[in-house]
Subunit: 583 residues, 2 copies
């Protein structure tokens, strides 16, 4: 070893010891006859002192150390005169007796500090330097710790981690597959898995009973801000279970992680909310429940006053922003601008202020009497000092707009603290989604999701009303994961495929091996998958998953550090028996 | 839950309890008025009894259960009359009071028994049924347990598991890459990693200090019997270490696994052997040290007798097969046939028998006197009753042939017990391998391997003699893993690339990001990677890694269960801007 101590472990009690440290030069400061070097490694920073009176040549050498030089230093641990409370090693320093330069360094293109001067692009290109910043490293330490605790919990519950293949078969359903030409089977391609869904169901058919895997998945999508072409799932499945068993098991997992990683104890059961309620109260299937401000429907109170905007609206919804009656014209205009942005898409916004003295002001007071408005106030439960914000229009669309407005108000009012965590199960999702464009139903989750047993009789008669035995775990408005009880009877699965417009031939081609497997005694089973990147980013209090991935790709799916993807040799194309066909 | 007990946990102390089990029907037997059902799940088998006197209808239902039906059974635990010592639940049975068929099953194409009647191909096609066999399931349980313990050990030593990307850049060096066309970057391709080598070195540059990952890797090779296009590595790297530190750390890992998974305590340090000694004594860089039978060189004892075969041979090597002096002509002919097989390639074999009375017989006694042969016997240490086997020819070639003969004799003599484990470090590998065909040196490990500091002065003058700071862990003649101390100085790395015939441009194109990274303060570092599939198969006492992979591919790289790879849609090809170019 080039060291016998790390830069994070020395304390006052070590004073007098001779130690050898190795690490990177964080900074050097020359003060009179002393040169101070802050030496950094993964574990911390330790101050090293070179004294001209003790060894002038050594101090001279230290004076020439550049930022990020790699050095090995031997010296004696001594108590500091000026202690640094911000460092765990801040009570001591090393009086250097030898210095060995293990490697020099060019001047890095940005400072290796949490508060760096490097822009996003530069830091991505030099990701290996970005990863030296303690803030970034801590995210990956958190990721390691979480993965370890997830495995510890699931192992203790009898789950087996089984690796499923990465080179599988393309099933053009849902998102696009990444494909891999097979040299040994010319003209044929593997696909990279979008999830191990079918394999984990096969493992249940195989009697594995409890399976999990922390596994890379792949989706060739046009990347939105916070998507990655490769991402990591915590994929789980159990046999002989009903929905309640799955919820209990994985609520336990989430609580275990919060407890052992963040030292947060959730003692109460997580609340559960039906999808219908989530849409009605929050306009979203992943409501941020760190704060209230639920929707109140007031359509029935708005009629008969010749105000076309509300008279013609299918839906009129309100939220109460507590203590915001004092909002200025300008602030209200900003909110109106917010909801009119194309990303939100509302036509406009109405408001009602309940002044501190109980009097009511409104943007629609020329259409409504104070008595009318008083009923709105009563219905919404607004109190003196509160502001009611109202949107109107088609039900689903307006709910989504009101959802955005609610989140915006939550942010403005500081109600979305990233260090506060609110967990929620959303249950009773619809089984199908109707698509106007293709005029057919799609599986809201995937085609293996079991209908709610109570609704099976509606499958043909009222397809859209059938609820799924599906559930999502929501944390702070993010979908942490979701899953379902699966169909285990071949007959019901056939029925589903037919409702989804898959011909028997299609279904056989795409899922034949699964359907065949189901003929040999499939047990009742269900499970779920968590988005691991998201899980880590939530616990890190970050908005983006990119910050919890060691080597992420940019929005064009490029790794700018290694410059991938890239052109390949003609001989490679030739061996694969494919050719470029550029448009 | 469909059960409150598993099929593996009930004992005599549970007698009298009412329980509900769920699982698969292993077999049914009707004996008079009783029907016995063996119910199986992951945890075991429990016998269930249906009695015509208690409930005739229920017994009748049980009589119609087919093999592999999925059922839920409720009943009372009772002591068995005829106990079954082979089952952990063999003291009890369940007196059934209700039976629910959860799913029926077609008759499986082979029996779900350890000793199945299904052939390889059939079992691969129905892998989900093959996985029901306890022997196969136990392999995957072992795999899970090993992965868990590997993580536990490495975590306790401060290693962080960091996920490196799967979609990376093609570097046509060594084996072929699998490539992935990028839709978003037409004409460009990702490659799947053959190993995370460069990324783990970048993580060391990033100051991660101790990294590991259990990770899928990919190699598009023509598959030999025991290779898979996707395989799993335990990939590890450490900073500020020398070879000794790495050996200690990972010897500790291997011992931890043997202790916590197999309950085998290795108290002594693993032996270490130089590559040169391994080649000299065993003709292999991965000697099976479960048994001795080391090579003895006798060239100097064989000259001057006008026997051209030995006179012209560069190398004459012998092994002693203890107690085999009684081998018949037929047995000796078999051995000669064995070494003459094209896979071994020897021209012939000579032998010397030391009879029980000390007299000597030999296949070459017409060329050599008894005195001559007595010297061979003395040199080899053969005792009365032993058989000396001799091969001759060019040194390296003959050593390899003698290695095969030694292994064959070890197998014949029962010296290769799969439940006995012999671990060994092979060290001091050559840094370079000369290739006659291309007339250049290749890196024996990879181009980032550090030369032995003592040999750096030989790099240009005696390139082939330079030893690497590289090491392999060998268990029972299998390479379990290997690694090296890496080059961390840019200058030395440049030198290596030049010796390997990589132009500066080539090196920059292929490894530019790594070489750039090394400019910013790369620490001394080193590591290794274990083949996880092999590690599991060795501990399972199996010859093939296929048996420890849930869904393996066959020798054409096909998954015959899901029928992958397969053709993809023209629209997919179109979107990727590639075309087939079949020969």
């Amino acid at each position: 070893m080039f060291r016998n101590k790390t830069c994070g472990e020395l304390r006052l009690s070590d004073a007098g010891q001779e130690v050898t440290l190795a690490g990177w030069v964080q900074r050097t400061r020359k003060m009179g006859g002393m040169t101070f070097v802050d030496l950094r490694d993964r574990y911390g920073i330790t101050q090293v002192v070179f004294n001209v009176d003790t060894d002038a040549a050594l101090q001279e050498q230290a004076n020439h150390l550049g930022r990020e030089y790699v050095v090995q230093i031997t010296g004696k641990v001594a108590e500091r005169y000026a202690k640094n409370q911000e460092l765990s090693t801040g009570d001591i320093e090393i009086i250097a007796s030898s210095l060995r330069i293990l490697n020099s360094s060019d001047v890095p293109p940005f400072t290796i500090e949490d508060d760096t001067d490097g822009g996003d692009d530069l830091r991505m290109k030099y990701r290996y330097l970005d990863l030296r910043r303690p803030a970034v490293r801590r995210n990956l330490e958190l990721r390691h710790r979480m993965a370890f605790e997830i495995r510890r919990y699931l192992d203790s519950k009898g789950f087996l981690e089984v690796e499923t293949p990465v080179l599988i078969k393309s099933t053009p359903e849902g998102a696009r597959d990444f494909v891999v030409p097979s040299r040994m089977n010319p003209g044929q391609f593997y696909a990279l898995p979008q999830s191990p869904q079918t394999f984990k169901q096969l493992l249940m058919v195989s009697g594995f009973d409890r399976y999990f895997q922390i596994v890379k998945c792949f989706r060739d999508e046009d990347l939105r801000a916070d998507r990655q072409p490769e991402f990591t799932q915590i994929d789980c499945e159990m046999s002989f279970v009903e929905q309640e068993d799955v919820l209990q098991m994985f609520e336990g997992l989430v609580k275990h992680i919060f407890k052992y990683v963040k030292d947060i104890d959730f003692t109460d059961p997580f609340p559960r909310m039906t999808w219908a309620d989530a849409m009605r109260l929050y306009g979203s299937d992943k409501p941020d429940t760190r704060f209230g401000m639920e929707f109140v429907e007031i359509k029935d109170l708005t009629g008969g006053r010749n105000f076309a905007v509300l008279d013609d609206a299918e839906y009129v919804g309100a939220i109460v922003a507590p203590g915001c009656a004092g909002y200025t014209r300008k602030q209200l205009d900003q909110l109106t601008e917010f909801v009119k942005r194309p990303q939100v898409g509302a036509k406009g916004m109405m408001w009602v202020k309940v002044e501190d003295d109980g009097s009511i002001k409104s943007s629609v007071s020329k259409f409504y009497t104070e008595d009318d408005l008083a009923k709105w106030v009563e219905r919404t439960g607004a109190k003196p000092g509160d502001l009611i914000l109202i949107l109107a229009g088609p039900t689903m669309k307006t709910r989504k707009q009101l959802c955005e407005l609610r989140l915006e108000m939550g942010s403005r009012l500081g109600l979305r603290d990233p260090q506060k965590f609110s967990c929620l199960w959303v249950i009773d999702f619809p089984l199908f989604e109707w698509d106007d464009e293709t005029q057919r139903y799609y599986a809201m989750h995937h085609p293996f999701t079991s209908p709610n047993p109570e609704d099976i009789h509606l499958l043909d008669s009222d397809t859209g009303a059938v609820r799924a035995t599906a559930y999502d775990m929501i944390v702070n408005g993010n979908e942490l994961g979701g899953g379902s009880i699966r169909i285990h009877e071949a007959e019901l699965q056939d029925h589903m495929f037919r409702l989804l417009g898959l011909s028997e031939e299609d279904a056989q081609y795409k899922f034949g091996f699964l359907m065949n497997a189901f003929k040999y005694g499939a047990p009742p089973h269900g499970g779920l998958a968590f988005g691991f990147d998201r899980f880590v980013s939530i616990l890190a209090g970050l908005d983006s998953i990119r910050d919890v991935i060691a080597f992420p790709k940019n929005n064009s799916g490029r790794d700018v550090m290694i410059d991938a993807p890239s052109a390949i040799d003609d001989t490679q194309l030739d061996e694969l028996q494919i050719a470029l066909n550029l448009k």
